[in-house]
């Protein structure tokens, strides 16, 4: 447990000093909202469209962070250091997922209000409690699958390319579940009820991929 918290602290400290991923992800989200405004020629959106724009943007922004997640480990021999330390692979998996989760949370603190100001028609505040639940479940899925995809791609020649190619299809169920779950929250006449079956799907996705990642992560480390 202390290994996990040490690794998370290291990642957060590094991000605080270098500011490589989080500002880029946040800026990307805001630019995407501007692009969507011109692309679909609407100044305010609600319902399905709002949920879709929000989740496509967040997923694409998260891929930017996913691509960089293990770069420090790879470039600065961090993998060797972790293998030498008495830390097992699952601790690294947990730490990296938590770091990515933290990055996503910070990005969303910027991106969600930005979305509400720039594009969202209905008020954000009444929808917020439900949206937070969807965000939490979806972010866990993105964090786990993102860590896995990042660890798979980091040793390849075309890292960013592989992350995007592999991450997008893998995250389709998250996009689907999260967008369907948040659509009634963002509808024009005030938020509707939170659809439980989509939250259930997101939860199932998180659970299955957490188990799969736990089972295979060992093999991505031992060299």
């Amino acid at each position: 447990m202390s290994a996990v918290s040490t690794l998370v602290r290291k990642d957060l400290l590094l991000e605080l000093r270098k500011r490589e991923s989080v500002p880029a992800m946040a800026l990307f989200s805001l630019s995407a909202f501007v692009l969507f405004h011109f692309g679909i020629n609407r100044s305010s959106v609600d319902g399905d469209l709002a949920a879709g724009l929000l989740w496509v943007t967040l997923l694409l922004a998260s891929l930017l962070g996913v691509g960089r997640l293990f770069v420090a480990e790879r470039d600065e021999e961090g993998f060797d250091a972790i293998r030498l330390a008495p830390v097992d692979a699952s601790a690294l998996l947990a730490a990296k997922s938590l770091s990515l989760l933290a990055f996503l949370a910070i990005v969303e603190v910027v991106a969600i209000p930005g979305f509400a100001i720039l594009l969202l028609g209905p008020a954000l505040l009444p929808a917020l409690p439900g949206l937070l639940a969807v965000l939490a479940l979806a972010d866990i899925g993105i964090a786990v699958v993102g860590t896995l995809a990042s660890a798979l791609a980091v040793q390849t020649r075309a890292r960013e390319l592989i992350v995007a190619l592999m991450g997008l299809p893998l995250l389709v169920p998250v996009a689907l579940g999260a967008a369907r779950a948040s659509a009634p929250l963002l509808q024009a006449g005030g938020p509707g009820a939170l659809p439980g079956r989509w939250l259930g799907l997101l939860g199932l996705y998180d659970l299955v991929f957490a188990l799969v990642a736990y089972a295979v992560f060992d093999y991505l480390l031992d060299d």
Binding site: L152, Q155, I162, L165, L168, P169, L176, L204, V212, V216
Partner: protein
């Protein structure tokens, strides 16, 4: 070792597939709703089922590799996934043709099976770029196997998600084969068996070819080593001989060159 039963297997494949499509055209009745076009069902559905089965088989073989570390399992998994990708392209194309003929559109988003299949295909299309972007052969095998396992777990989850998202218009075959008329069901089962045989035969052919070229490479390497030994003269020749007497391993491991002391 993969070449053994190839001839009978190939003959069985040809016989089963010919029988299946002869039955499809001359025995199974035309569909009351869709008419003749529905015959593509005997091609499309077996292709799709065998492709998905092949992806799952690839994941199981990848688990075999991760557990044993035997490179042959990796090769089997690679061939299985690569063949299933080709079958999946066939399933997508025939599905699209069928959709055009019976619903009037090349692509129908309200058809969960077709949509899930596309997503699965897009994911597996990433297998080869990932694999061949890794230089070290041992790491390549390991990472490809991990990908195969992750993607194998993704397949059922994705089908569940997409099915939840769409109203059901697609004929649900696996649960509903009982409702097919007897003649159609018989034809379908034979077509499915034929397609599975085709996959197995192609898999064995490719494995035989891969095993043969690996063996050839290792023989060449041994020959080169022996020629070198002869031209140098001395005890190296004897060393090369003992090496060539060693049993064939599918992945010849060359000893790292030792620094020469001067």
């Amino acid at each position: 070792m993969y070449g053994k039963a190839l001839k009978p297997l190939s003959l069985a494949t040809v016989a089963t597939l010919s029988a299946a499509y002869a039955l499809a055209f001359f025995y199974a009745p035309n569909d009351a709703d869709q008419g003749f076009v529905q015959k593509i069902f005997y091609l499309h559905v077996p292709l799709a089922i065998v492709a998905l089965g092949g992806f799952i088989a690839g994941a199981l073989m990848a688990i075999g590799y991760l557990r044993s570390g035997d490179r042959r399992w990796d090769m089997r998994s690679y061939v299985a996934i690569h063949l299933s990708l080709i079958f999946a392209v066939g399933a997508l194309v025939t599905g699209s043709i069928w959709a055009r003929a019976s619903w009037g559109h090349w692509w129908v988003w309200s058809e969960p099976t077709l949509v899930s299949f596309l997503i699965v295909f897009l994911l597996y299309a990433c297998y080869q770029p990932l694999r061949f972007a890794i230089e070290d052969p041992e790491r390549q095998a390991r990472y490809a196997a991990v990908f195969a396992v992750v993607a194998g777990a993704f397949v059922p989850l994705n089908f569940l998600a997409v099915r939840m998202a769409t109203p059901l218009v697609h004929p649900r075959l696996l649960g509903a084969t009982g409702s097919l008329p007897g003649a159609m069901e018989l034809t379908f089962v034979i077509a499915l068996a034929g397609m599975a045989l085709l996959w197995t035969t192609l898999w064995k052919y490719e494995m035989a070819s891969k095993a043969a070229s690996m063996q050839l490479r290792s023989l060449r390497r041994k020959l080169a080593a022996r020629v070198e030994g002869v031209s140098l003269g001395g005890p190296d020749g004897a060393d090369a001989q003992t090496r060539s007497a060693a049993p064939h391993s599918p992945t010849p491991v060359r000893a790292p060159a030792e620094p020469v002391e001067l």
